[in-house]
């Protein structure tokens, strides 16, 4: 199960970089077409790849019938249609970006990745971090006028833990007392440490979890109405959807979604009255669409940015964002041969990972840790594996496979990354092994990671809140639903516990560093690179800056001077 953090899903209509764009198209050959088409750019790069993702026809959606009637105060942006309209049920960044516009959480991230109050007016962290009390704003309401109460928050969060239909990001609530028991079916909802009284929500934790104020900004933890229709579990917009966020979705076709400002939004009606989200560009180049004035904000490929930066008209409208994301390789550590730390070390030392990244993109930032730059408390030490070819061969021999002899065929599976072919080539040359590479569509890949993780895999993980816990704790702690490789190490777990148990930033950073040293030694994962993205944004459009979690906040958009 992919918990927390956002897997970068198939991107919205945007172009792929040459070798670094999430690529995965249906059948292998579909890629051939991809080269001639616009690329794909992902919120995450789980394989940010070299072809173009071709949006599959959603046959039950009515075809677009031309641009809907738009008033003067509107903006047209490129975005992804949510895979489901229920925020508890999505686990990819694209869906989260869409739903974050219509469902609000207790806190929110601003453009500088600072946690800000949203539905909650304030909060207190007490009991040495084991209790957080949120106070909701006065008079907040859903789009139909019904008040938003603490009960709505509790019910929305319990839906995330519903053992019958758990959220792919259920681990966001994993530190709440009784949450894991309820999730696993061994406990009850009544025993989950979320109490609501009027406009107050008290959350009790099994261990210190001051980070939770930040985690509460995740779209997964957004507040939904009690009567959210069952149809919201699908990709089609339910009729008259009642929302808690800045925008009410009015219509959806197979190429666009129309949003209208919610007059009952807690912060007041958003400056832009209508947002038309283009979910498909019909295989046209995003740059062409932008130049034709058909769209005001659109992600583009890095390879397009290279020439655009020198172009008189487009250059000043070019934007670059750094996301709090990391691409990493992982091993399923419960099955041979990657249950051997020596084998994992051999793989880590056999490749010059930094060089691989820089060959693909000289401006890319190779990862030095599983925790992206920009997250306070990540430390500055380099925890990345370094190439040591002799060491790699020695480690493989120590695992019982001298010169690769007897090493089983293993498979690396991804949803279409830029590096897989190079990684396989390096490993084969250095270690004398054979590595198959399989690429799957993102949805199938996500499901596969949940149900039957491959021997070796790769993910692009975007933070859903800016904290080391969202990477180290959620991705590697024993029992976490996001721990795809099912790695377990007591020393690592103890370090994570120490980090959670202290309110001293220096001690916390030290504990996280201890944890990362264990990761460096035991190699359950190999961090590869941090993420960034490019976009074109129309002159005069204010607030069009992606947050570190990869979203535009439509409520912060406005036209200069209008």
């Amino acid at each position: 199960m992919l918990d927390s953090g956002w897997m970068a899903g198939p991107p919205a209509p945007a172009p792929p970089t040459r070798r670094n764009t999430p690529l995965i198209l249906g059948v292998a050959i579909a890629l051939i077409v991809a080269v001639a088409v616009a690329g794909a750019l992902g919120f995450r790069s789980a394989a940010n790849p070299g072809g173009t993702t071709r949006p599959r026809a959603t046959s039950t959606l009515r075809p677009g019938s031309g641009t809907p009637n738009l008033g003067e105060n509107h903006v047209v942006v490129s975005g992804q249609a949510p895979g489901r309209w229920d925020p508890a049920l999505v686990g990819d960044a694209g869906s989260a970006g869409a739903l974050s516009q219509v469902f609000e959480s207790l806190t929110a991230l601003d453009a500088a990745n600072r946690v800000q109050p949203a539905l909650a007016a304030s909060w207190d962290v007490t009991d040495a971090g084991r209790r957080v009390t949120f106070q909701l704003r006065d008079g907040i309401a859903f789009s139909d006028g019904r008040p938003i109460t603490g009960d709505d928050v509790r019910r929305s969060w319990l839906r995330v833990l519903d053992p019958q239909r758990p959220s792919p990001l259920a681990s966001l609530l994993g530190d709440i007392q009784g949450a894991n028991e309820y999730l696993s079916g061994s406990g009850s909802a009544a025993d989950v440490g979320i109490d609501a009284t009027g406009a107050q929500v008290v959350v009790r934790f099994r261990r210190p979890a001051a980070y939770f104020v930040s985690a509460a900004s995740s779209p997964t933890l957004a507040v939904v109405p009690a009567d959210l229709p069952e149809s919201a579990s699908g990709p089609l917009l339910p009729e008259n959807l009642v929302v808690s966020g800045a925008y009410v979705p009015e219509s959806q076709t197979d190429t666009e979604i129309l949003l209208r400002a919610n007059p009952r939004y807690w912060a007041g009606r958003a400056p832009i009255e209508q947002v038309l989200v283009k979910t498909s560009l019909d295989d046209r180049s995003p740059v062409d669409v932008f130049q034709a004035n058909e769209i005001d904000y659109v992600p583009i490929a890095r390879d397009d940015a290279a020439w655009i930066k020198y172009q008189r008209d487009l250059g000043p409208q070019l934007r670059r964002s750094s996301s709090l994301s990391v691409i990493y390789y992982g091993f399923t550590t419960t099955k041979p041969p990657f249950d051997s730390a020596d084998v994992r070390r051999a793989f880590a030392m056999a490749v010059d990972w930094d060089r691989l990244v820089r060959l693909d993109d000289p401006e890319a930032i190779p990862a030095t840790s599983l925790v992206p730059l920009g997250i306070e408390g990540r430390g500055s030490e380099d925890f990345s594996p370094k190439p040591d070819l002799e060491g790699a061969r020695a480690a493989l021999a120590a695992a019982g496979y001298p010169n690769g002899k007897g090493f089983p065929d293993v498979t690396l599976v991804s949803s279409g990354g830029s590096y897989e072919e190079a990684v396989a080539s390096e490993l084969e040359q250095v270690l004398g092994i054979h590595l198959s590479v399989e690429v799957m569509p993102f949805a199938d890949y996500s499901s596969r990671l949940d149900s039957d993780p491959p021997q070796m895999w790769t993910l692009d993980w975007i933070a859903d809140y800016p904290h080391p816990q969202d990477f180290l704790g959620l991705l590697l702690e024993t029992g976490s639903r996001s721990n795809v490789g099912e790695w377990s190490n007591p020393e690592f777990d103890a370090a994570i516990d120490r980090a959670a148990a202290t309110d001293d930033p220096v001690a916390q950073e030290a504990a996280y560093s201890d944890a990362q040293r264990v990761v460096r030694d035991q190699v359950p994962v190999i961090p590869l690179r941090y993420g960034d993205s490019w976009a074109l944004s129309r002159d005069g459009l204010l607030g069009a800056a992606e947050t570190g979690v990869g979203f535009l906040r439509y409520a912060s958009l406005a036209w200069d001077g209008r």
Binding site: T17, G26, Q311, L318, L356, E376, A545
Partner: protein, 409 residues
């Protein structure tokens, strides 16, 4: 003639991996039996791949594994499974997306049972056909021409040009092509674009797809006896040989080098291109070579990008000699960075070469006009003044105020 040639030598990363059962293959999978798989693969229609199979239990998943013969990455997609009336199952995968003509796909089904064991079906192949025309075929030494409009003399000429272009590129780049190259010539723009599929830029007149060793070209009846045939064939085949010369899994050469060589070999650095480049230099509109490393501009910048590419290659040959250019191109096959390649071949980095090339044109290196930070937008009441940071070490007690999380730019 306006620039119409482009090529997409970029190979697609689909590999032909080993499809042997992995260590998880257990006894139960041995009881799976497959019928002969089949596929319908016609341009403009969904690609449908199907196979019957029997299994002791209903599988947990059935996947289609497919790859191009020349590639190692295997694409895996979940197939639909239906129960057959007479027992057993039928797996079907329908791909709605566009697939280029002449694409050959190797495919097989994989059945995974509840115990985790898996079985692989027999491998088969299918080639996408464009059955809209009565194609005629003419084989040359290496090039096989497919055409439906024009006489035998046209075909003979095209094949001859193709074979000579391949030989010339082979000699220049020091590689040898051994596999047949298919060249499909369309006589009308609509037919050509339908073959290439949606998203093809309107100024594309040819396309080389190295991964399927196929070229697609648009040659209208009125152009059959024109120089366009020579230009198109030579340009696209140069791309294909270039791809062979630089093939590596790590890093592709800058696109201007690839396109520049193709233009230079098919047309030279023409008067028209020189004029375009000179005018852009005067107007301060030149795009530096590093801006042409990836995708090319659309619209007005499209032709200029090709002209600059030809100019860059011409400059290199004039300044350092053809041998250095070839050394540069060939070095990419070993997976080097641009700076490593340029430094080894001509003793200076790509950036220095760029500056010298610009200087030769009387231009200076343009300053980038972007990216620029997004101008800030409105924020909800209280946000701008009271940022509340909760970060590592935010600790317990009341949230701390004022700490910012720096973004990496």
């Amino acid at each position: 003639m306006s620039r119409r040639v482009t090529a997409w030598v970029a190979a697609i990363a689909l590999l032909a991996a080993m499809l042997v059962p992995g260590p998880g293959t257990l006894a139960a999978a041995a009881d799976v039996t497959f019928g002969a798989p089949s596929a319908t693969a016609t341009l403009g229609q969904p690609l449908v791949v199907t196979s019957t199979f029997t299994a002791p239990q209903r599988p947990t998943r059935v996947e289609l594994l497919s790859h191009l013969p020349s590639e190692r990455i295997v694409s895996v997609e979940t197939a639909d499974v239906a129960t057959e009336p007479g027992g057993g199952f039928r797996a079907t995968l329908t791909e709605q997306g566009h697939v280029l003509p002449n694409t050959t796909l190797l495919y097989r089904f994989r059945v995974t049972l509840p115990d985790g064991s898996s079985a692989l079906g027999p491998e088969a192949s299918a080639t996408v056909t464009d059955d809209r025309f009565d194609w005629r075929t003419l084989d040359g030494e290496l090039v096989r021409l497919h055409w439906y409009d024009g006489d035998d003399a046209f075909a003979q000429r095209a094949v001859q040009i193709g074979d000579e272009a391949v030989r010339g590129a082979e000699e220049l780049l020091g590689v040898q092509e051994t596999e047949r190259i298919d060249f499909f010539i369309y006589a009308a723009e609509g037919e050509f674009r339908d073959a290439l599929g949606p998203g093809t830029r309107e100024n594309v007149g040819g396309q080389a797809v190295a991964s399927i060793r196929t070229l697609f070209g648009l040659i209208r009846p009125s152009e059959i006896n024109s120089d366009w045939v020579d230009v198109l064939v030579t340009h696209e085949l140069t791309h294909l040989v270039f791809n062979t010369a630089v093939d590596n899994p790590y890093h592709l050469p800058p696109r201007w080098l690839n396109e520049g060589l193709a233009v230079f070999r098919s047309q030279g650095y023409t008067v028209g291109d020189r004029a375009l480049v000179s005018q852009a230099a005067r107007n301060g509109e030149l795009i530096p070579l590093d801006g042409l490393a990836g995708l090319f501009p659309t619209g007005d910048g499209f032709s200029l990008a090709y002209a600059e590419s030809a100019s860059g290659v011409s400059y290199m040959i004039d300044t350092f000699g053809q041998e250095a250019l070839v050394k540069l191109i060939r070095s990419y096959a070993s997976g080097v960075t641009d700076d490593e390649a340029f430094s080894a071949a001509i003793g200076r980095t790509a950036a220095v070469l760029n500056d010298e090339w610009l200087a030769s044109l009387g231009a200076s290196a343009p300053e980038p006009l972007g990216p620029r930070p997004a101008p800030p937008g409105p924020t909800p009441p209280g946000w701008a003044d009271v940022p509340i940071a909760v970060s590592a070490g935010a600790g317990f007690g009341p949230p701390r105020l004022g700490a910012l999380l720096p973004l990496v730019r």
